[in-house]
Subunit: 293 residues, 2 copies
């Protein structure tokens, strides 16, 4: 599925921003900085930054004020992937079709690269450009720190590890993913919303509901692809979740029910945007359910 | 060496603050939260929080406005210890006389506990109490994110790992420690200074110089203790640095020169405080060079 020129332009934009905010490989410690750049500048879909910009467009925000928030979210996402891939965690050698960070470098460097990317993410949010006020920046930092912490993304990963080999209910599975992937996807939309000078409460509720549906839809599709796609297309090891004994939507509710759930979440995400001028958010929702990797 | 009732009161204070800000073990994911509390509430010296409060006292600040900054720095410090102890890093089974986090729990939980503590540290700084302004809080977050990132603490750890088995000069060793331990000790003083409503530039320079000397003195003494103390007193494995082939001040410059350097740094730290009313900062400097663990 090909994305629109508007989203492609934002992809190009965030690549340039990431390139700019990451420490140069000339700066010491070089191996650490090289590893950070290797993992970040590695051709991701940039779904979270796209969500930041697309939400900003819906609210009439100029993209330049969202560059640092968009980059911050992506850095948090990449750090979580680096740590998730470690031998003590999911032990995955492949990420985006290339050796994962600890394979390309070493485990210690991968741990430290993740740690440094998290710190850099928060640093960037302190530097978000005017006209975002200090108060707005603090609200963003608070949102992202909660969403990425023990009651958000990291907590979701802990639940995920504990769930290996367990028989979860659909509700338990949903709780896990609301934390593990949902929290950061929701953050992407909320950070852009918090940057708006005069945010209408009703719009915030709509956007937040969209983001929650999108986050779950993303995970359901991820689980489906883990079974129906192949390693080369995915750029990560196909069937890794099933092989690791991880509960997935298809394993918990069956493949056809999982696909029905995906459709329902998509429709709910679209419905949440009613009355908003949000063509790019609609496109991201469509892309999420139709993507093949 | 016994510390004064004033510093003891701050130790008691920070223990209560840390106890309060850490997620309860009742909250999911329980194992993760239990591990976070295990590592943080583990009887550390709390040198960094003490520095925050002592700097605040010098500048006439009430301790309650420094509770969250003090806790934030300690959480960053503890997360770095958890990750440093991992098998892929320093591979140390003992921390503060008890099994390190990955031994008491498991590697994955230790990685995630560290990650979550870092996020919580930044979250706390967004919530620092009035009368600290939003602008001041942002400056604190920026300072701590830079000091703990790839050009600060994490960068120092990367340099440290790369230095194993290498013959460093005294200058290279100093560069490593300025990053690895110095950056966070400096942060402790700077965060308190940034909380002051009307900071005099000259005072900031004095305090910063004190902090730089103290950070290095701390590391020199650490290296000396690694050789001259014993495992039980240290609460961590004695001789671990030497056994790992890590360059230390005694190994690079000899034990008597290392002890002379320690004295010089102590005197320079004390001199930096001239004209300031800073009895607790003086005591921390004295404690740093005379401590036995």
């Amino acid at each position: 599925m090909v994305i629109s020129p508007a989203l492609q332009a934002y992809q190009t934009r965030i690549e340039a921003v990431l390139e700019r905010v990451l420490p140069s490989v000339e700066i010491l410690p070089q191996r650490l900085h090289t590893a950070m750049r290797y993992s970040v500048l590695n051709g991701g879909k940039r779904m979270r930054p796209l969500l930041v910009y697309a939400t900003g467009e819906t609210l009439g925000l100029a993209p330049e004020i969202l560059d640092f928030p968009a980059a911050a979210i992506e850095l948090i996402h990449v750090y979580s992937l680096i740590h998730d891939d470690l031998p003590a965690m999911d032990d995955d050698d492949l990420r985006r079709g290339k050796p994962s960070c600890h394979c390309a470098y070493d485990e210690a460097t991968a741990i430290l690269a993740g740690d440094a990317l998290q710190a850099l993410a928060f640093q960037l949010l302190t530097q978000a450009d005017e006209p975002i006020s200090a108060q707005q920046r603090l609200r963003m930092i608070q949102q992202l720190s909660i969403a990425s912490g023990s009651r958000g993304m990291v907590g979701g990963q802990a639940i995920d590890l504990a769930a290996v080999g367990q028989a979860l209910t659909e509700l338990e599975l949903e709780q896990m993913h609301i934390h593990k992937t949902g929290a950061l996807i929701r953050s992407s939309v909320l950070l852009a919303a918090y940057a708006a000078p005069a945010l209408v409460e009703r719009q915030l509720i709509q956007l937040d509901h969209y983001a929650k549906c999108l986050g779950l839809a993303f995970q359901v599709q991820d689980d489906i692809l883990d079974i129906e796609s192949d390693t080369q297309t995915l750029g990560k090891t196909r069937g890794a979740d099933a092989a690791a004994g991880k509960p997935t939507y298809p394993s918990v509710m069956g493949m056809s029910a999982a696909k029905r759930k995906l459709d329902e979440l998509y429709l709910e995400a679209v419905a949440a945007l009613e009355g908003l001028n949000a063509p790019l958010l609609l496109e991201i929702a469509e892309f999420t359910v139709k993507r093949v990797r």
